[in-house]
Subunit: 792 residues, 2 copies
């Protein structure tokens, strides 16, 4: 097909003119094989659990999940964005931006377009790269507003013409009568648009669009229209990640008829006497603020397909990724493969259940848990490092987007059971980060070759230590220990020098001092465990000593952890319910005072002993917490709270299990079941808080299965009360571990007794080593607490 | 040495902690060998001609040269900048910026600092990367103003404490009593600062500084303080080059005591509660507008040295370049090697002369001619391409900064004699540009992996054709021809579609239409010559026909080239003296009408025949041109004008030689000698116009030697009147060609007769093929014209 525009003087590279290093990508169109075989897994009795995934769960309110198409741990998350909210209005932070961390809000009535990168459930955000929107009729290059969609290219839509599945998303764009469908491989998003007949078909390509658009975060955009079906380029942003570049190669199933751009920043130098009209059919485009359009001539019934490959390295890398992963135009094939990939992951836990809501909640939790961290390298193993140089992986898959303050608690321990190979690769990715870090530090919260320094602690240490302790450490463990130790000795990091010198972070020197002291102490304990296993006595001694620093911020008079000043006195005017200015972050003292996961027994003793502590916990779950104490706290909302216990955020996630260290283990059981039932529900508003890149979901999975990793770095799991009746965990080592809950029901939330491989347990703990060998854990359930259980 | 700041909590990577891919660069300090051996060349009788180079020539007025340190065709041009002039003031173009194309103006009284990249002589500009300035006392991070230097870090200086040599520059910074010295290798600039004793020694590192600072051209800056002597990073600018990145690695001979930065754009996300003080001793710095400082503790007499390596690819590449080129701290060694490199190049033409001004002018012209294009790749052959991907050279050295509208005329033909290997590599670099170009076009004016589209024509075709015709084409010549042809068929380029359809560019469709028509016609002729040599008859026919298009803009009624409109009529209200709005660029019709270098005989016939044309040329050189006709024309000034002949700019450079095609060849001779004498002088104001990256200097070299390439792509050189008495050209093939001017003097400017290898010439032409075989050309000079010579 010869382009009209070619005749009109447009120079698109066409067949016969080869691109140099980007050897021309042939747009071969396979016959579209409508394969429906769901190749699931090699696991015996593999089932189509992917049918139960509901990506809509968490898309309303503050779940911060997205409904779009992605594969497990995929680099591409191709998803609709329903609004473009500025980070700041009139120079002031715009709290509405927080609703749009994943780009989509279920209650919105319009879709702006489909962008290719999204975080799942995070409590801060970024990304939203390369927004595509199909339109018809008059060309509009601005997104318009939700209240007046006609003012821009966005479209109205309704949920009854919307469908979100594992690896597939579709919606009818009502204003244009266009059906939009999308699916993905790891590095390629594939779009399929069914336009009405006889319309002017436009594709808007908005390179200014972004999520958490911090002060117009675009730094630079570079686009080349390589030929009549291929567009390449990159954009660089300065958002949450300070120096983030994503490269792309985008291919169309039909040739471009004509195209153009608006540039909203300064105009480029253009030779003398305006050598060209650079706004139209000019194949080389660069600037800070760019929006483009591509027009197509479509035959009746012809669908316009788009493949968007991304790369951390180069547009050449993106093009290679496209060639490797999607060397055809068969949309259905990609869609089916995406679903099969999900089924392979989901069958790692097989639930025997007929209860649809249970299956939906469980497998959607699995889905959310396996969305990230995401792969971050080209198919050839090249990736951009923290030093902005290009690196080559050496025997591991590189991952990015480590929301570690959240995920070290439960998600990475879950990976140590269900994804040990990926978890080891994630550990190696963190070590590569350390190697490239000019601070010689492991990641705190890292994404896209950037450290964003969000939240506190050095919880990479927990992840590495947990992997080492659990024997899932197919990497250089001494190097890992060096990385942990150097990270934990970075004196200029967030009060750490004071902590090292004084045994606590003084609140007058560094805010959120108690949270930091407590989390450093736990991380130090994790480092000590790894050192011990690796036979490094000096390091063990140094860090086991540091792990006791939690004692230094305990105020015996009030019975709470309390901010201490550099003169050694406790802060006056202390309010243990307030989350602001009291030495804590995203939590109050009531919740945070319980954060000694590595030494619960010692903590309980310190706080008055088992009985007093048990009552203290009761108070936490039953007291009345006035709204004023959390209404202005990011990431905490009424939905996530039970009494004063905050499940919608992380610091207390281990708390319901602490009764196990008192004489009332049974009190854990009803709390856990209550949380499972009330804080995780089906429907778009089913999540009680940010899913936090799978952390909340991982809590659900563990707790549903009846056990929980209170202190990652320990081999022990504390028992709770399973919500499943019968679940089989299929381990990567070929073993399987079955959890049976006999006499299980909504009312039978208490555990009568527990048998592990036929032997009754006397303590409410099982070991990872036991689990990994395979076996059977049988809970006998009842509707009355067995108050004698586990306390002999 | 242990850093104080290390103790204070600063974390600089120190010995024992290895950088990942940037393996730690050991700051080994060689004993400073004060070698003074000037290893010059393998050429017999090689002399120290470098002593005659005066880099100050052209630094006053509009020469646009810089006085700093560089090696032949070096990537680094380390030179003082004397002011920071904004591109625009209150939104309007600031004409003062034009004075600072090379960063330095001789009449200025202060130096802002020393930056590492500069164009030589160009008529537009960019660069000025990575400015370093040593200071003492109170820290100032802004440059201050020329009228109030104390307001910033700049310093007063005077020319009597300044020294510019080949590959070496030094100056006393009077405000600080610091002696600054600099030298360079191809990719590394080396600084040496002698501070007074007992002062606070600062080094300012200004990453906002730039030349032609078009609307704050900084796009992004990224810096890492890797350890106490190594800093790496890059900056990206959007100036004349739209998307230009330069990477660096900078090493200090002494450890940093402490350091910091100001960021003048928005502040970065900093975790919660301002996790760090990122302004001081924080090793990871990024932003749009950054200035840094480094403080040092120096022993008495200790000199602070700095090595700054640059790379088009990565900071890792820059570090490798440093390791390869300067694996020591011996400043004198680098300085001596730089001078030796210049001597190797200068000895390619050996002048037997005792006349210092002649030697100064000639060898400074050689120096300016060999400053660019500059090498643009790492030592491993990697470079950034026009597609922003990283490419690997395959058997050639990649060059950048092709000021082709200027340099195709004389500089590249000079390279075909003195630098054939480099010229072939430059041709390959242009072909690589073509391969990477989304337009499938050869460069127009390209620098740093960008096309800036400055000026007109597609003169890469001339450069490639000239290399092919002259047998200096050790590259894929068919591919070169394809590149020329595709470039010349790019319909949307600058009126070219009209030109192809109508035989001329219509002024009502595209300005400067006559200049474009004439230059396209010449380029087409060059393409035809290459096609003919390669046996491509069809292409020859197509382009030889196009080469006659100059006839379509000739107005027989006025006797001038004249803009024609799309309706076929000539533009009314035509003023053949005006340079504005008359269909020409940087020239009026009087000058541009003579631009048919490929067919002078036909042009002369068209314009009324030999005698009339000779008188017409006389008028050009003698008429009175009122100021109003050029005073607002960029790149044309009174200094460069003789009558109405404009030597200070390029379009007429061949004109003095055109008498050779009339019956009055002798009239060329006195004109050329007058131009050589009056338009090229010693002293900072010695150049009559922009040197244009060596084009003006190349004219001087050719004309001094007595011959000139009127039409590159032809083997013929037209004879003029040599200014030298005895010059030997040492060719790369081992042959030498000697030019003797017998009875030469300032008054004896006319040629009595010429002998080539003992045989008297009957026509005023010699062939490249003859020259390249070696031999002897003897001019017999006299003070009266020999009016019979060459006209039989």
């Amino acid at each position: 097909m010869i382009l009209n525009s070619f005749k009109k003087g447009v120079r698109l590279l066409s067949a016969g003119i080869l691109l140099s290093s980007l050897s021309l990508y042939t747009s071969c169109k396979d016959a579209e094989a409508e394969e429906n075989s769901v190749s699931t897994s090699k696991i015996k009795g593999a089932k189509d659990f992917a049918q139960y995934i509901d990506p809509m769960i968490g898309t309303a309110k503050m779940g911060h999940t997205y409904p779009g198409a992605t594969v497990p741990f995929g680099s591409v998350q191709l998803s609709p964005d329903t609004d473009t909210i500025p980070y700041a209005v009139d120079g002031h932070y715009n709290p509405d931006v927080y609703k749009y961390c994943a780009g989509y809000q279920y209650d919105d009535k319009t879709i702006v377009g489909f962008s290719h990168t999204h975080f799942s459930g995070t409590g801060h955000s970024d990304l939203g790269d390369f927004l595509i929107m199909p339109t018809t009729g008059n060309l509009k290059l601005n997104p318009g507003t939700a209240t007046n969609p006609e003012s821009g290219y966005r479209s109205r839509f309704s949920h009854n013409k919307e469908n979100a599945e594992a690896g597939y998303y579709s919606v009818m764009l009502d204003d244009y009568n266009i059906k939009a469908e999308m699916t993905a491989t790891t590095r390629v998003g594939m779009h399929q648009y069914s336009f009405p007949e006889n319309v002017e078909a436009h594709l808007i390509f908005d390179l200014m669009h972004g999520i958490y658009n911090y002060d117009d975060k675009n730094v630079w955009t570079f686009v080349r229209v390589e030929n009549d079906t291929l567009v390449t380029g990159y954009r660089q942003t300065n958002g949450w990640a300070r120096t983030r570049r994503v490269y792309f190669s985008m291919s169309f199933s039909e040739p471009i008829k004509e195209y153009g751009r608006n540039r909203y920043d300064k105009q480029p130098y253009n030779g003398f006497w305006g050598k060209f009209d650079q706004s139209k059919n000019f194949p080389e485009i660069a600037g800070e603020k760019i929006r483009m359009y591509f027009d197509f001539d479509l035959e009746p019934q012809e669908k316009l397909k788009v493949k968007m490959a991304i790369s951390p390295v180069s547009s050449e890398g993106a093009l290679n990724n496209m060639k490797e992963e999607v060397p055809h135009w068969n949309f259905a094939k990609i869609k089916n493969e995406a679903k099969a990939k999900w089924n392979r992951e989901l069958n790692k836990v097989q639930l025997a259940s007929e209860h649809k809501d249970e299956l939906t909640n469980f497998y959607t939790a699995m889905y959310h848990a396996f969305l990230g961290p995401t792969e971050y390298m080209d198919t050839d193993g090249k990736y951009k490092g923290l030093d902005m140089n290009v690196h080559q992986t050496d025997g591991f898959t590189n991952y990015t987007s480590f929301s570690l303050w959240d995920t070290y608690r439960t998600l990475h321990p879950l990976f140590n059971i269900l994804q040990p190979e990926r978890n080891a690769d994630m550990a190696e990715s963190m070590m590569a980060h350390y190697d490239q870090s000019v601070h010689s530090m492991l990641p705190v919260w890292s994404h896209y070759a950037n450290e964003n320094w969000c939240m506190i602690g050095y919880h990479s240490a927990s992840v590495l230590a947990d992997a080492i302790i659990k024997g899932n450490a197919d990497f250089d463990q001494e190097h890992a220990l060096e990385a942990m130790v150097n990270t934990a000795r970075t004196r200029y990091y967030d009060g750490l020098g004071y902590y090292m010198d004084m045994g606590y972070v003084p609140e007058d020197k560094n805010g959120a001092s108690v949270s930091k002291t407590l989390e450093y102490a736990y991380d130090d304990w994790a480092i000590a465990q790894a050192a011990k296993k690796l036979g490094k006595g000096d390091i063990y001694q140094e860090f086991i000593k540091r792990s006791e620093n939690y004692k230094n911020v305990y105020d015996a008079k009030t019975g709470f952890m309390r901010p201490k000043l550099s003169d050694g006195t406790f802060k006056k005017d202390f309010d243990e319910l307030n989350t602001h200015g009291q030495g804590f972050i995203e939590g109050n003292s009531w919740n945070y005072s319980l954060y000694v996961p590595h030494a619960p027994a010692e903590m309980i003793e310190m706080m008055g002993g088992k009985d007093q502590f048990s009552q203290h916990l009761d108070s936490l779950f039953t007291m009345e917490l006035p709204d004023k104490y959390f209404e202005n706290t990011e990431d905490i909302s009424r939905e996530g709270i039970i009494g004063n216990y905050v499940h919608g955020n992380e610091p207390s996630h281990h708390v319901p299990y602490l009764y196990n260290w008192t004489n009332t283990p049974w009190k854990s059981q009803d709390k856990i079941r209550m949380i499972l039932k009330t804080k995780y529900q089906t429907g778009s508003d089913g999540l009680s808080g940010n899913d936090d890149f799978g952390q909340m979901s991982a809590w659900y999975i563990f707790s549903s299965l009846g056990f929980y990793p209170v202190a990652p770095g320990s081999l022990d799991y504390a028992l709770g009360s399973p919500a499943v009746k019968d679940a089989t965990i299929n381990l990567e080592n070929g073993n399987s571990f079955r959890v049976l809950a006999k006499n299980q029901s909504d009312k039978n939330v208490y555990v009568e007794k527990v048998e592990l491989n036929g032997k009754e347990l006397s303590k409410p703990f099982i070991s990872h080593d036991t689990l990994i060998k395979g076996g059977e854990l049988i809970f006998h359930m009842t509707n009355k607490p067995n108050k004698e259980l586990f306390i002999k």
